[in-house]
Symmetry: C2
Subunit: 357 residues, 2 copies
Amino acid sequence: MTIKEIAKLANVSLGTVDRVLHKRGKVSKETEERILAIIKKANYKPNMYARGLVLNKTYHIVAIIPSFKAGEYWEMPTQGILAAEKNLSQFGIKLTLLKFDQNSATSFEEKAKELLELKPDGVILAPVINFEAVKLTEKLKAANIPFNLIDSNLPDSGALSFIGQDAFQSGKLAAKLLCSETQKKGTIAIISVKKNENHNKTLQRRIEGFKDYLYTSKLINDITIVESNIHLSKNDWKKRLKEACNPNNDTIGVFVPSSLVHYVALHFTEDPQYFSKIKLVGNDLIPNNIKYLRSGVISYLIGQRPQTQGYLAMQNFYNHLILKQTPEEKRFLPLDIITQENLIYYDIEFSNIFNLA
Amino acid sequence: MTIKEIAKLANVSLGTVDRVLHKRGKVSKETEERILAIIKKANYKPNMYARGLVLNKTYHIVAIIPSFKAGEYWEMPTQGILAAEKNLSQFGIKLTLLKFDQNSATSFEEKAKELLELKPDGVILAPVINFEAVKLTEKLKAANIPFNLIDSNLPDSGALSFIGQDAFQSGKLAAKLLCSETQKKGTIAIISVKKNENHNKTLQRRIEGFKDYLYTSKLINDITIVESNIHLSKNDWKKRLKEACNPNNDTIGVFVPSSLVHYVALHFTEDPQYFSKIKLVGNDLIPNNIKYLRSGVISYLIGQRPQTQGYLAMQNFYNHLILKQTPEEKRFLPLDIITQENLIYYDIEFSNIFNLA
DNA sequence: ACTGAAAATGTGTACGTACACATTTTTAAA
DNA sequence: TTTAAAAATGTGTACGTACACATTTTCAGT
């Protein structure tokens, strides 16, 4: 079913049908109704190929995300973004990646300035530096540039979509995995391992969720919670880590609400007493964590499909800019429970689903 | 970069470039080399829109899968297949669904005959009736029709791809969830709930994996395994179920290696003793199972992303027929661990990822 | 050098849509 | 009725590719 056929059925020209389809007006009411009826009855769907050919626009997306070293968390969302670019480039979606230093607001502002000069058709923003990110969203709104938030949300920012995880629920899940099965009484250590002083809302929400689970389920009657912050940038972090979880006290579990759990795992390997007595739960399937999950030092990892997050952020723009669909406001990805027995298929999941080499 | 531009650079006509691109011959060697060099240098990629427009082929895929009532397992792969059809119809992929009765080889053979008469460009086959499925694959090979296997595999069948799960690993995972945390000694019941007498390899593999985990981990020293088959088609199934898991004996856990675990869960609700004492683990996120997971009767469900399986089976044909890519031979989907705390985001996962209303 | 066939190269059209522009019809005022 | 503006409708071209067909060039055999 083509525009031509519809025109013939309605006894009008292509142009009239076209005006109806695009609501350009200049069509008499009766004609319009007749054409719309035919379109509906015939279940007309525009030919994507012809439309793409004639429009032939290239849409420029800029993603502004934290820089990373190989194996660090932000490599994963980036993989997803790049995979999407590969699949969508044939439809005219082009990508520029801008990476900023998570510890430097100045770095972010520089990149944000660069971004605005590129006048992109869409922006993917990781608002890890909260205050500066808000400033950028306001400029984007003023310039009428649609943007997607990834990883963490800025409520009422006017974003097209937020794509990420429910951090509170992630914390609850961690608590369940760490505590619900052990009938033991004892101490649970929550260790926030950080690389910098940035105020990270995600970590905080995970910890809140973790505690919420314990209080709600009454497990708190048997369990003592000890919280500590370890800043890797400080010299005494190894010493502080030792204090935070000592195998000789009654610590039965450790929760590290970030991908940096492997630092604690490394510490555990130094004394076999640790991982035989203490259960360790953390977040994210980065190579270092996978290593310790495989060897049994880490009991569970909670995944949030970061590659899929990146992929969806891009696909959102495809849906919005090309298919003219309004995306959902929030997309929470599933919280995957990863353990030795199901690790393998998560490991290869991403290339599987998105058809990469 | 278009064919036109390449032609101009090479000082030849469009036709000559076209002949080189499609290896139609009738081009002098020196011209061909010159053009190929330019194509390579310019990194020419054909315009998908123009190509799709001019080829304008429709590819006809037939999926032959078990029939189902609302809420039954096979509804989920079907959802994935239909979602893919919706997204891919714009590229000329059309679908016919043929549903057969799982309990009737005759029903399958009728549908298989119908399928061959349709002379499709691709087939999605759920080989749940093993022997008849093999016969069909041979006819498909003879007719040179590519096919994908879904849910369970037929080794060396000549399929384009197998898309499914690792049933053995699924069983191991179930055992870990059911036994590893409980320090208790006791009896574990493996209950194969079945609707028919079909020999189902998947159930068997799950049970093998389950036992393998117990034996390998030495948990078997404290645990007794009791296996039983419950055929829902027989009148005495309720009585048999009561015998299989009695709260008054030392049963500490029940594993039902299929989506029919909700029958056991229903039985559990009749006596609060059951679900306070016995941990129940089963497979698949069908509505009935979700209900009991939410209410706490079922402790864990293991998911295998059936919708994604269906979607991928279709996408495979898009990749193969339109993008001319060779798909991977086997695609094992991740084994998701679902519990009360992460159920919610799995529940909405599918519409999330595949962008459905 | 001339011929005819083979080899090489060029040309034209179709695919379905979007949009600019041209033409026809209707309407209201003189 | 005539007329000009407004409203409605029609026409033509471009997008990049694939493929059928037309034309030109090359070259062996006379």
